[in-house]
């Protein structure tokens, strides 16, 4: 990337260019189609940047009306506290109902095994997610997943069909021609809808910059105590204490993704605004999941395997 779409000298705020306008319009189109065709959609909301952009787009899609579906957070119990605070504030501001499905509750009810106090709960989100979808009879769940994140995601349809076990069958996906989305399901089945499929990490940040969208503060440079583990910087805390041989130190960092504290790493950064983050990402040579998500490092097919089980 030698050329940015944003002319930093021309105006205090960058503008919606042709590409972003097309991506925005397509996302709004998908959101409206699903809302019109499905009985009980829900927006999966983690407080991360993609889900915040999704909420913003949902508001735009239905203006001047109300967002006609609730948002749902799959709570691993290992959250960054500031993200939960941000989530609650945003939900109130947007006037949407929040549903919380909890991994801890699933553990307490014996639906999944406890990986221990410091184990990753990311993969475990699948069980409470599928339970909540069944319990609330949701027939469509919007997610902020993008195809540039992973090679399994790169193969997935915008409307991705899930059978009554919540499973994705990558070898037998519905054909998806033009912009004619088939949102029909039978009872017990559901769809995952990915309106941001064609967005890249840079597009998200450009959109955040153009629209002055507020994100959790941890997306910008801040001082934090961290340890170096698997060449990632992990915040120290109750769930992620320094292990023997690791030395905790303070560093100026920001996060590129927001997830379970036990597997989401930070990067060294001085970026305090969306434009500065954009500049850093344009220089960056490492993908956001490769850099900071231990959960995607297990195998060549880590994401494909989780998606087959019903993960986001």
């Amino acid at each position: 990337m030698t050329d940015s779409i944003i002319d930093r000298n021309a105006a205090p705020h960058p503008v919606l260019d042709w590409r972003l306008a097309e991506l925005e319009a397509h996302a709004i189109f998908v959101i409206r189609e699903v809302a019109a065709e499905c009985e009980r959609p829900v927006l999966l909301f983690s407080g991360g940047k993609d889900s915040v952009v999704m909420l913003y787009l949902a508001r735009k899609a239905f203006e001047p009306g109300v967002i006609p579906f609730p948002v749902m957070h799959i709570d691993t119990g290992h959250n960054f506290p500031e993200v939960i605070e941000f989530r609650d504030r945003l939900v109130a501001e947007f006037g949407v109902r929040l549903v919380v499905a909890s991994v801890q509750e699933a553990i307490d009810r014996g639906l999944v095994s406890d990986p221990g106090p410091t184990g990753s709960r990311n993969r475990m989100q699948t069980v409470p997610l599928l339970h909540a979808i069944a319990e609330h009879r949701f027939d469509a769940a919007f997610g902020g997943a993008r195809r540039d994140e992973d090679k399994a995601r790169a193969k997935e349809r915008v409307l991705s069909f899930r059978d009554s076990f919540g499973q994705w069958d990558p070898k037998n996906q519905r054909p998806e021609l033009w912009r004619l989305y088939n949102a029909r399901t039978l009872t017990g089945e559901h769809l995952r809808a990915f309106p941001l499929s064609d967005w890249t990490e840079l597009d998200i940040w450009r959109y955040v910059a153009v629209n002055d969208i507020e994100l959790p503060a941890m997306y910008y440079a801040h001082r934090r105590e961290v340890v170096r583990r698997d060449s990632m910087l992990l915040a120290t805390g109750r769930f992620t204490p320094a292990q023997p041989g690791e030395e905790a130190f303070e560093e100026t960092v920001r996060y590129r993704t927001v997830g379970d504290m036990t597997c989401t790493g930070a990067v060294r950064s001085d970026a305090t605004t969306p434009l500065e983050v954009l500049a850093e990402i344009e220089q960056s040579r490492i993908t956001e999941r490769g850099a900071t998500r231990a959960d995607d490092r297990f195998s060549e097919a880590a994401m494909e395997d989780r998606k087959r089980e019903g993960y986001f």
């Binding site: 779409i5 042709w18 590409r19 009306g65 004619l180």
Partner: protein
Amino acid sequence: MELLRFATAGSVDDGKSTLIGRLLYDTKSLFDDVIDAVAITTARRGGEGLDLALVTDGLRAEREQGITIDVAYRYFSTPKRSFVIADTPGHVQYTRNMVTGASTADVAVILVDARHGLREQSRRHACLSALLGIRHLVLAVNKMDLVDWSRTRFDEIHHDFQALAAERGVPAMAAIPLCALDGGNVVDPSPHTPWYHGPTLLDHLETLPIPQRMSGPLRLPIQMVIKPRPGGSDNAMHERRWYAGSVAGGVPAVGDRVVILPSGVITQIVAVEGNLPAVRVQFADEIDASRGDVIASADDPPNTVPSLVATVVWMHDKPLLPGAHVLVKHATRTLKAVATVLHDKLDVTTLASDSQVAGLGLNEIGTVSFITSLPLPVDPYVQNRTMGSFIVIDPVTNATVGAGMINQ
């Protein structure tokens, strides 16, 4: 920045994965961790250096079988343009996935192996691309190193392809001799082709014209009616209903005289909000309009027809038979339909047409008539992709079983 969507077609044997890997690598679109992972996997499989084909390596089953099963999307940008690649499968049994990728593409890049020239698969891809209304084909003649960069060989294949493109009525085509393995004429010019004076593949993709998306008379299928939040405004105008949708032709403006179809009611647009093409509009009159209806230019409306005649790509094991009850989704309306007549079947490799048709099987293409439960406002597919296309849905399983392009 402009966005160009292109589909790549061809088989793994032709070097399609390597070509895409090369495009991404030479445009510096690959991140270090991806390059590292490719290097490690290359070594583990007994190779040396970087096997760029591994960059687009997808699903487990695809790695096991060394084929592409489903379309994968890749993204990269250069200073001139940003690109979406729909990397589509070549095998005939995955035709439905190929058309999924090609249906939204502006350009199709069809890859052939210089040693083999045009094969059945290349012909099928060229034919399907043309059928889907892709107006620009690029023939990438790969593995030129294996024919000693022979100009004669390239000219032969180019000539065959020109004939094919002309036959299918494709208005624009280009042929480029290249080698994905060493990168020659992909992003950077090859030293081995002094006789070739055309652009590299990337140069060509960066400069070819992108079709205008919002040309022609106004077409705005209504996605939903939006009622304003109660108490949102004192202004009575703002209490009115909004009609939201994505513009499929023209640009709606205040003062436009429009017709609501299929009802035929005429009104005027008095407000337009939103960023094109995702807009919402208000009308001068309180009229009955809802999801599925189309707002169109009153001076240049589409034809509202009780039945459809279309070229249909069938995508399901269970064949389409005359008399079949199906659902059709056209623009934003899903309605009941019956397939009445199967006129003919097209052999996409020989282009022969067969009028003795009992049914349309998986991956077969034919001309089919449908009666619909409501009249539909349609344009021919060649004039307007949105107003001229539909999908066929099985009313019992909800599977998407076919795709149709409406004829003149």
